[in-house]
């Protein structure tokens, strides 16, 4: 006689009621429909497009809805070199995104300035926006971006979403400190 274990919703036991935590439900919804804002500024954007294509297929993770309007997106993927001239624009677009929102720094340039040690390039996008996930590579492989986005999903999973619903999301500090 085999013992079968049933996880999840069992209508015989639970009737028509599901018991869970609000955080779990909210985060479940959020992490499976991240709408990225492709902030494509250089060659990393090409890899980002590759991730959107059928070979790598970001839609497996519920993130295929790339929105070019900050009002409709959750997660800014900064893909490429951010110059000082562009930095202001990146920050303003970030400010226009509705909460909750996340930022992924894709590639060496967005994370640290990369090979552009120069007078014109911002040395890491974390000086102007709070970054959740950094992805190494120049440019990163599409798999690396997918891995980074899965890390972001893990991060979203552990957020205290209910508390922020009541109080408003706490304003986040920039991760760069000198």
């Amino acid at each position: 006689m085999s013992i079968s274990k049933e996880y999840g919703y069992n209508s015989k036991v639970e009737g028509e009621v599901i018991v869970s935590r609000a955080d779990a439900v909210i985060n479940w919804v959020r992490r499976h429909s991240v709408w990225p804002m492709p902030m494509g500024l250089a060659c990393c954007a090409i890899e980002l497009m590759g991730v959107g294509g059928s070979r790598f297929d970001i839609s497996r993770f519920g993130m295929e809805v790339m929105r070019f309007s900050p009002r409709q997106s959750d997660c800014m993927i900064v893909a490429g070199t951010v110059t000082y001239k562009m930095a202001e624009v990146v920050r303003r677009i970030y400010d226009q995104m509705a909460e909750p929102k996340w930022v992924v720094a894709m590639g060496a340039c967005a994370s640290t300035g990369g090979m552009y040690r120069s007078y014109a390039v911002l040395q890491g996008v974390d000086r102007i926006v709070p970054v959740d996930v950094y992805i190494s590579g120049c440019p990163p492989r599409p798999e690396a971006l997918l891995d980074g986005m899965m890390k972001l999903q893990e991060k979203i999973k552990n957020e205290h979403s209910t508390r922020s619903l009541m109080r408003g999301r706490e304003s986040r500090e920039l991760s760069y400190k000198d």
Binding site: Y84, K85, A87, E88, R91, R92, D95, G113, M115, Y116, R117, S118, Y119, A120, V121, L122, Q123, R127, I128, L174, D178
Partner: protein, 220 residues
């Protein structure tokens, strides 16, 4: 190659031959440059302006030279014309936008990077750096790491806790070879700029810092 520049110098007495490793090249005085380029465009078939840029000779005078590259559409082949600018700290050059509209952005870039004002340009603004930027980055005295500058938008600066242009750390980048070893003398490198944000710069080159790298005394 030298034949062409020889022909030109015979035809236009104000020209002088310019040493060149590739294309025919001539030096032209500032006053004649517009006349020369117009003749080359209309009579000699050099219809296409490929490039306008400049050279900074730093300690020499005249300090700045503007360089034009013309292309012959029928025969093929380039022609290089260099002309010195008037003035060393605030150089001025004649604009060629009336001959080639394409010169517009080339001259804006040259203005942005070298600070050369083009007389007669319709819209001489910076094109790469932002309008308030106070330096000309391709001048010899300007360090690759940059200079500290405030950014123009006050609300943006306040929101980000005072972000500003800082000197970029030169050490450790992929295009900067080590300070020692066989390649150190041959590769373009950061030289004494081996500091980072954490490791501060040594003071052993005090007083010589203002000079461009190739004008500093070499360290052993």
């Amino acid at each position: 190659m030298q034949e062409l520049s020889k022909q030109l110098t015979e035809r236009f007495p104000f020209l002088s031959a310019r040493p060149s490793a590739d294309h025919p090249a001539v030096n032209c005085p500032q006053d004649n440059v517009l006349e020369l380029l117009r003749t080359l465009r209309d009579e000699d078939g050099y219809q296409m302006l490929m490039d306008v840029t400049a050279i900074d000779h730093y300690e020499a005078s005249p300090r700045f030279e503007v360089v034009y590259h013309l292309f012959h559409l029928e025969r093929g082949g380039y022609l290089r014309i260099a002309t010195p600018c008037e003035g060393d700290s605030n150089p001025i050059c004649q604009s060629v936008t009336e001959l080639w509209p394409a010169a517009d952005w080339h001259e804006r870039e040259t203005y942005d990077m070298f600070g050369i004002s083009f007389r007669g340009h319709p819209d001489l603004r910076r094109i790469l750096m932002w309008d308030e930027y106070p330096f000309y980055p391709l001048r010899k005295e300007f360090p690759l790491a940059g200079e500290e500058v405030e950014l123009p938008a006050p609300d943006f600066v306040e929101q980000t806790g005072g972000v500003r242009v800082e000197k970029a750390p030169m050490m450790g980048g992929p295009f900067h070879s080590g300070q020692k070893g066989p390649m150190s003398a041959r590769e373009p490198r950061a030289d004494d700029e081996s500091w980072t944000e954490v490791k501060k710069r040594g003071s052993d080159l005090e007083g010589e810092d203002d000079k461009p790298r190739e004008f500093r005394p070499t360290r052993t």
